[in-house]
């Protein structure tokens, strides 16, 4: 067995024989052409045929992957007819007396480079589109057929796959895609996700692997060549669980989070960074209800800069494409490692110098983060949430700092949205008890049940000796939650739950009845919770 670590594009597990999908080496030779008019005509004819192929491909793909994803082939057709591209090719034929294939290859390469050298990852990925259309033109010119068929369901391995190749593969027979190159922004990656096919990139595939057995773990990005029995068994199990989730997904994807009696709520996901966003989308999450910003601060030597943070937030916000992303400001404390903050060791870190308490005493750290978050707000729908609030005074201090940050950004002419929602975590009994006063000053509450439980019951959840006493469904907790929801609504704030209780499907109906507006859970729990919501009654039965 050989094990390779790559990057996962789409999660899922696949086991099967490998099929090497080599480039049909269309080595383009330079030939001297006498009759350039005829050669230009030959090129124009090939262009027309290619455009017709692409229009057809577009129409066929609409059914497979939807209009939004199929639109790329219309764009390809337009690229094919782009004035500059056409001129470059015709010009080469006429002035250098070269054959059409060669002229196309050179022009394609030049435009490929133009995109490949762009800074933005998204535009960089467009270079693959240029390559795709040039290769199509060359194939038409040389009269090659692009379709390849295979009988046995296989894991496709290739150096790279073109969008047109990806979509034309028989979906029923493709177990997974594994490529050496490619980016997570490429259309191929997007198509793989839409088609629900596990996909890995950055695997040093080899042609002589053709026909060998392999296993793909799209959860971890691992590729097993000729897996041993134990690995096979493990992968089979994982695949079984996947199939179950996928069945649930097929059944529930696109369905509303609505109770039997018609109450609809938002179902969001908790994430730790960009790496989790794919899981949010593939599980049909409606937004991000808790984006833990700690990962940016932990495991490093110094504070993250504004720019670093901005890029990290923006990436998530952009990928969520207009769906709400609630970023929680730094929640770090003496128990979490960040040596550069030089926090003193505390006897009781849970009750110590942490979260908003650090931010309010170190406004430099807080402001840098707020600036980064507000800057990211220009790229989608951002909301900010403050952790560990215990008093109205803390919130007032935060608002003063936020106002300063906004003023500075305006003065610096840096774009941000002015209507960014602000909310607080309700995770201390104090916050729950004064939630009526807090509600007027925020747009939303998010109840952090993990801390709320440990502070209310005065029990450390990590301490296994307390297991016999520990009751996460304790009446006191549920009363505080109900109170928070009612006070929130009275004060005009919507209320969500982002702690572990939010994913507890035995409480879903209880929360709906309390009037909760949003639940935020780990990505893998979205569909189970959706299933629970759809089986619940939110209102008492009428007499």
């Amino acid at each position: 067995m050989e094990v390779f670590q790559g990057k996962s594009i789409f999660k899922g597990v696949a086991i099967g024989p490998l099929l090497y999908y080599g480039k049909k080496e269309t080595t383009v030779r330079r030939e001297k052409i006498e009759d350039t008019d005829a050669e230009v005509a030959r090129y124009k004819d090939a262009r027309e045929k290619s455009v017709a192929q692409l229009r057809q491909l577009h129409d066929d793909s609409v059914k497979k992957v939807g209009e939004e994803n199929a639109a790329i082939f219309d764009v390809h057709a337009m690229l094919m007819e782009d004035e500059d591209f056409c001129e470059a090719i015709e010009n080469a034929i006429r002035t250098q007396n070269v054959n059409a294939e060669y002229a196309v290859a050179v022009a394609g390469e030049n435009f490929f480079k133009m995109f490949a050298e762009m800074e933005d990852e998204y535009f960089k990925a467009r270079s693959a589109d240029m390559k795709d259309i040039s290769e199509r033109l060359i194939r038409v010119l040389t009269g090659e057929d692009e379709k390849r068929s295979f009988d046995e369901p296989s894991i496709i391995i290739a150096d790279d796959l073109m969008p047109s190749e990806t979509v034309q593969l028989d979906k029923e027979k493709v177990l997974a895609f594994v490529t050496r190159w490619g980016s997570s922004n490429s259309h191929t990656a997007i198509l793989a996700r839409t088609m629900n096919i596990p996909a890995l990139i950055d695997i040093p595939i080899r042609e002589d692997w053709n026909g060998k057995l392999a296993a793909v773990d799209g959860h971890t990005g691992t590729f097993y060549l000729e897996p041993d029995e134990e690995t096979l068994r493990e992968m089979e199990e994982k695949r079984g669980r996947d199939l179950e989730t996928r069945r649930l997904l097929q059944e529930l994807k696109g369905k509303k989070n609505v109770s039997l009696d018609g109450k609809e709520i938002n179902l969001y996901a908790n994430i730790g960074g960009l790496k989790d966003v794919a899981a949010v989308l593939s599980n049909d999450g409606g937004g991000v209800g808790l984006f833990r910003s700690e990962f940016l601060y932990i495991g490093r030597e110094s504070l993250p800069t504004e720019e670093e943070q901005f890029q990290a937030y923006k990436a998530v916000v952009e990928t969520m494409a207009g769906k709400r992303v609630i970023i929680r400001t730094l929640d770090i404390g003496a128990d979490k490692k960040a040596d550069y903050l030089e926090l003193e060791k505390e006897d009781n870190p849970a009750l110590g110098y942490r979260a908003i308490r650090i931010c309010l005493t170190r406004p430099d750290i807080f402001k840098t983060q707020l600036r980064a978050i507000f800057r990211a707000s220009a790229f989608g729908k951002v909301a900010i949430m403050y952790p560990m609030i215990t008093s109205v005074e803390e919130l007032d201090k935060i608002h003063t700092i936020v106002a300063e940050v906004k003023k500075e950004l305006t003065a610096d002419k840096i774009p941000f949205k002015d209507d960014v929602e602000e909310g607080v975590m309700i995770e201390t009994p104090a916050a729950a008890l004064i939630s009526d006063d807090l509600a007027h000053k925020v747009d939303f509450f998010s109840i952090g049940t993990n801390d709320l439980t440990q502070y209310t019951l005065a029990m450390d959840r990590q301490n296994s000796r307390l297991d016999v006493f520990y009751n996460p469904h304790h009446k006191a907790i549920l009363r505080l939650i109900r109170m928070t929801i009612e006070n929130g609504h009275k004060g005009g704030a919507w209320v969500g739950i982002c702690g572990e209780l939010g994913a507890d499907t035995t409480l879903t109906e209880t929360f709906l009845r309390m009037g909760v507006d949003e639940l935020s859970v780990s990505p893998s729990m979205i569909l189970p919770v959706r299933a629970a919501i759809r089986k619940s009654h939110a209102y008492p039965e009428k007499e």
Binding site: M78, D84, F115, R126, A378, F379, G380
Partner: protein, 85 residues
Amino acid sequence: MKSFTYVITDPVGIHARPAGELVNAAQACGADVTIRVGDKSASAKKLIKLMGLGIKQGTEVTVEISGENEETAAAEMEKFFKEHL
């Protein structure tokens, strides 16, 4: 010549698909349409050049319209930008 400025709100900017739509709109309006961003510019009828500008969300672009019916063409283009980009 008519012109207007516009700040792109599309989250991914003028990438492949929106660029394709823009080219179609520019061709339909009949006049010459030029997109200017900083010191770079491209005809809105040339897809590759347009994508090559790498226009992202938040970028301010100047749109220049000249030629026949520039009055109505400018109005059409402005409407297109507001609705699609």
